[in-house]
Symmetry: C2
Subunit: 92 residues, 2 copies
């Protein structure tokens, strides 16, 4: 739960800034692999699938999206998606 605690503290700090009005979604997928697994990693495909699923609920434009896929020596792959959601009442 340490990661989550850190995350929430960070969000609380951000809450005091002007950026509060925007809606945001952040998705982090961490895949910890062992040495025996010789399969290619599926995070790139999974990214696409998660984005398709998200589009059922929210509008995700290329402009609003940032994707970061980080490979740490082959055993830990971390995918980070940041999406700034369009405010339906006040699009700008």
């Amino acid at each position: 739960m340490a990661l989550l605690d850190y995350f929430l503290r960070k969000k609380e700090k951000q809450g005091t800034t002007a950026s509060k009005a925007k809606e945001r979604l952040q998705i982090i997928v961490a895949h910890e692999r062992n040495n025996r697994n010789k399969q290619p990693d599926y995070l790139p495909q999974l990214t696409e699938d998660i984005l398709n699923v998200l589009r059922k609920y929210v509008q995700v434009s290329d402009k609003s999206l940032s994707i970061n896929l980080d490979n740490k020596g082959g055993e830990l792959n971390v995918l980070e998606l940041n999406i700034e959601l369009q405010d339906e009442n006040n699009p700008d």
Copy 2:
């Protein structure tokens, strides 16, 4: 990127323990809402959808899965999924 840095440091520490052999997936979805949004939150449905997508790639049993959905005062919803993956070469 601060969250990701923290996350990676935590993982590096864990890498030295005996738990290294297991494969794991951790997914965190954080939805930062604004006050104007009166729609019900879609994270519970999104959880189901992400799990269905994951099952295309890995075996996710109820036993291997832990789900935590945290609502922080209605403006920040955080979903945390932890999945212990079955080792196909060495199931136990």
